[in-house]
Amino acid sequence: MNKSTSIFGGVTIIALALIVLMPILLPSVTLATEILIFALAALACNLLLGYTGLLSFGQGIFFGGGAYSASLVMLHLDFGLISALITAILVGASLALIVGALAIRRTGIYFVMLTLSFSQMAYFLAYTFSDWTGGDNGLLDVPRPALTLFGITISDLQSSEAFYIFVAAVFAIVFVFARRVIHSPFGTTLVAIRENEGRSSAVGFSTNHFKLVAFVISGAITGLAGALYAMLLNFAPLSNVELLMSENILIMTIIGGTGSLIGSIFGAGAIVMMGDLLSSIWPRWMMILGAALIAVVLFLPGGLWGGIISLTSKLSSIKVKKNLTSEVTK
């Protein structure tokens, strides 16, 4: 196939360039780390919203589930870095399997309401079982174990630069994986379901199986993001499973551009940076976030990434015109 659908070409190169540039251009490495972690969550949300057409308010469940589970196995069972992350992936996937299996039984508005209800339930579960989750205080003293592969310690990950490099490597792997997923028989079927579920079923797909697997993959990646977030903060706050977290992930996905994986970096970047810069200036900065979302939905239906694409194509068409007129005048 051509370059644009090759998993290592096209936008993957842009994503890698962004990963390298972000810590240089942004005011702090920690900020860049936070952006990449939320970009992971937005990318996972994009698989559901952008590619399958499922608006899930349940992403916070998987994010929080990943954060709590990784923290708990590190605190109580002395799990290392990789095994803690794998635990988070498995827990995220399992939670998504449960939520997905029940929610996809309904479509449209009822599906959305079901994910919303699960999200509320998860919050109160986490709040109630405060012995495990720390309740309102969150889970404190979450460690950030050293990166050890085959018995060799590669880095203790204590410096924020080292942790950024680790998160960036994880992000790159997940990004390439997600590219594989969307350019596969499975991914193209998801798009078909988004486009026309009735027809998809009529040509032979049992659409619920596909939606469920999409949920599980999305949950796994979101769980991973949650675990990395806990390691970044050394803390797993209750806000991870709040409805607001699900909303934020959705907003990042939409602002970045639904249906484009690279857009997730822009979406996460925009929201995390706005939060970081504006919250110190004005405590009501969320109002600006609302305005930004309205602006994107009304004027940039393809999100930030869609905006960039149409801008570059406009610029290049202007260039072509200029070249043409200059040649005519010659």
Binding site: G187, V191, E195, A202, V203, G204, F210
Partner: protein, 253 residues
């Protein structure tokens, strides 16, 4: 079940509450034939079609396909059995290219095989080959890379049938293939269906009488949920009961 018939229904019926849309229908579709179901509005054609495609669960009776009872089989599972359908209201993947529409339709025949998320979609060459083969057959090769939604209505109707073909069906179920087509486009569809009739068994619902009379091997006329008569185009054309049903002389309409 007799091997001469690809599809047989016996006593098939569908009720909506107290109203019986399909009464007791014994429909037999011969292998290799083009079999048309006609009838005035409200005769129960579409309801019968829904039962055959699995969109609706019949209230009574049975459907045997290739000797196998699949009365209550889910719609998507019928594709792998060899049944494929088109829609009366064009139902495409609007923003995808014509080729991709066909490739995905071909992918559907494999059912859960398409859950593979670790290989490129181009890995399965048979689906691409099928899409290209159908592109040629429905003569849309020149528009292969165009978005399905940008095609003319006539072309969309042809693609609609093409997608059903991608399932490599032994029985092709077409729901009013000329629905909404302009007079100029209808011969294209007529040719396409009679061409398909050479390699497939085709069952269709249709209103366009010229098309029906020119390509059908058998015609079943439905009236008020039941079969009025079944016969060759000549037999149906000359039948008094059919004329009455269409003109509504019985006063029941």
């Amino acid at each position: 079940m007799s091997s001469n018939y690809l599809l047989e229904t016996s006593g098939l019926g569908l009720d909506y509450g107290a109203f019986s849309a399909v009464g007791h229908v014994d429909l037999k579709i011969k292998k290799g034939s083009i079999h048309t179901v006609i009838g005035p509005n409200g005769a129960g054609k579409t309801s019968l079609f829904h039962c055959l495609t699995g969109e609706r669960k019949p209230t009574r009776g049975s459907i045997h396909f290739n000797g196998e009872n699949l009365t209550y089989l889910a719609a998507h599972k019928r594709v792998s059995k060899g049944m494929s359908r088109s829609f009366q209201v064009t139902s495409l993947f609007q923003t995808l290219s014509v080729r991709e529409n066909l490739r995905i339709a071909a992918q559907g025949r494999g059912g859960l095989n398409a859950l593979k998320f670790w290989v490129p979609e181009t890995a399965d060459k048979t689906n691409i080959a099928k899409a290209n083969e159908v592109l040629e057959k429905i003569q849309l090769a020149a528009f292969a890379d165009k978005q399905a939604g940008e095609l003319s209505h006539g072309q969309q109707r042809v693609l609609e049938v093409g997608m059903a073909l991608c399932g490599s069906p032994s029985l092709l179920l077409l729901d009013e293939p000329t629905s909404g087509m302009g007079v100029d486009d209808i011969p294209i569809m007529t040719n396409l269906i009679s061409e398909l009739g050479k390699d497939h068994t085709v069952m269709l619902i249709e209103h366009n009488m010229r098309l029906v009379m020119s390509i059908s091997d058998r015609i079943t006329v439905m009236h008020q949920g039941n079969i009025l008569i079944e016969g060759s185009p000549e037999e149906v054309k000359g039948d008094e009961q059919v004329k009455k049903a269409y003109l509504g002389e019985s006063g029941s309409e």
